[in-house]
Amino acid sequence: MFYDLNVPYSPDDPEVPHTLNFLAELGYTTVALSQTINGKLPASLTPPPLPANPPKSLQLLTRLNLTLADPAQNQRLAVLTQAYDLVALRPTNEKSLLNACTNLECDVISVDLSVRLPYHFKFKMLSAAISRGIRIEICYGPGITGSGLDARRNLIGNATSLIRATRGRGIIVSSEARRALSLRAPWDVINLTCVWGLSQERGKEAICEETRKVVALAKLKRTSWRGIVDVVHGGEKVKAESAAQKQKGAPKSKESTESDTGADNLKRKASISSEPIAEDPDKPLSKREIKRRAKKAKFDAKGRNAT
């Protein structure tokens, strides 16, 4: 069960089937196809159509990468979370990273680690994000091929400092590979994280368990009520019964309040006589009901004596 949660995707790319085939060959089981949006959000937000006949062993998800520069532009995150399976934020400066960690509703925070970052990662900030169920992502793709020496150095340095700051918790690793050539097999990635400073178990968690948690949590957030309660069965029959009970309960209480007044006995008598007909005969009486009836009978007797 290996997950790769960041594969850049556009539907008209001819290389997509090859990339997916290669991912399946390497042993990945779940792949999130990501779409990146910079700056302004377009009017219609729908994920691009999934590729036709993907390999059978792959489960495909949709993901949105939203580049976050200033905190004022993220009003529609709630709409986005409904349209995509995963929503990732890519903060470009420290302020937006802080905002994303503490406030914004998303699933993954993915900082671009292949450039030189002018700030340090702080444990407090990142642990706030992790305790909210948001994971921090390391993308190994830009450091492996193509992007040159600087990207590789920055990636290693930033990944190491990220691992130091989070103390190895709550990190996921994904590829962000534009071509199939910069994908790597899961165990190679785990070894890479070992070299960067995670332990082997943590490295495996980063690509198996933590990513699974991200997917499961994201799904729970979208389908359930506040991420706590999910409706499995509507329970229609139970509902009808409770409604019937309510109907029965209502007139009785009215009667008991009326009987206290004792102003016009005739009216009360009439209503009492009509009552047992409406009642279900074979239902066992509750203790409360028995007491109420006893009281009513007492009042009845008193009323007769008076007349």
Partner: protein, 200 residues
């Protein structure tokens, strides 16, 4: 008596780039499963592979890394087995530094390529893009070899399966699982079994 301990890395070379796939039959697109495991050109010799790995280690880790690998006297880096036909190799390295070698392999992204057989391959210069995948890290060479044989057998069964299904169903499906149980009896000797692996 102190024993020098080492690790054996079983690796295979994968070719994900469709531009570098061998074109045997132009009318029919190649089976992607088979093409990913395409044979490597014969210019990749054990010595050359060792040199490539050493160079990458020195690029990544500098002199310290090369020193950790150890020279010829310390048992160093050694290619024990290389089969261009199946794109499989077994590399021996000292145990304390196997992660260096492994990460160097991860960072490598090309093997030398010549246009062998007079075939034209568009888009390739001298380098052919590839991915080195470490399949197994083992303490003894025997286990690495057994794993290689097991894998080769499984690949044969998978490809055959896919072809049969392709004939029946009209679509060449990609294998739906990595764990196809091999119920085939004794195929043949070890070397032979490995060699049939990917010769299309």
């Amino acid at each position: 008596m102190v024993r020098l301990k080492s690790r054996y890395l079983l690796i295979d070379i994968l070719y994900p780039d469709p531009k570098t796939w061998p074109t045997t039959n132009p009318s029919k697109p190649p089976n992607p499963q088979l093409a990913i495991h395409a044979p490597t050109s014969d210019t990749l010799t054990p010595g050359f592979l060792a040199k490539m790995v050493r160079e990458t280690v020195s690029e990544l880790y500098g002199d310290w890394g090369v020193g950790k690998l150890g020279g010829a006297s310390a048992g160093g880096l050694n290619i024990k087995y290389l089969s261009p036909a199946t794109s499989t190799a077994i590399i021996r390295c000292p145990r304390p530094s196997y992660r260096l070698v492994w990460s160097a392999l991860t960072y490598m992204s090309g093997v030398p390529d010549t246009n062998n057989g007079g075939q034209k391959r568009a888009g390739t210069g001298r380098e052919r893009g590839c991915v080195f995948r470490v399949i197994r890290v083992s303490g003894t060479m025997r286990k690495a070899e057994e794993e290689a044989i097991r894998r080769a057998r499984r690949e044969i069964v998978r490809v055959k399966d896919a072809e049969e299904r392709g004939v029946l169903g009209g679509l060449v499906g990609v294998g739906d699982g990595m764990d196809v149980d091999v119920g085939v009896g004794d195929l043949s000797g070890s070397e032979h079994g490995m060699d049939c692996g990917d010769s299309d």
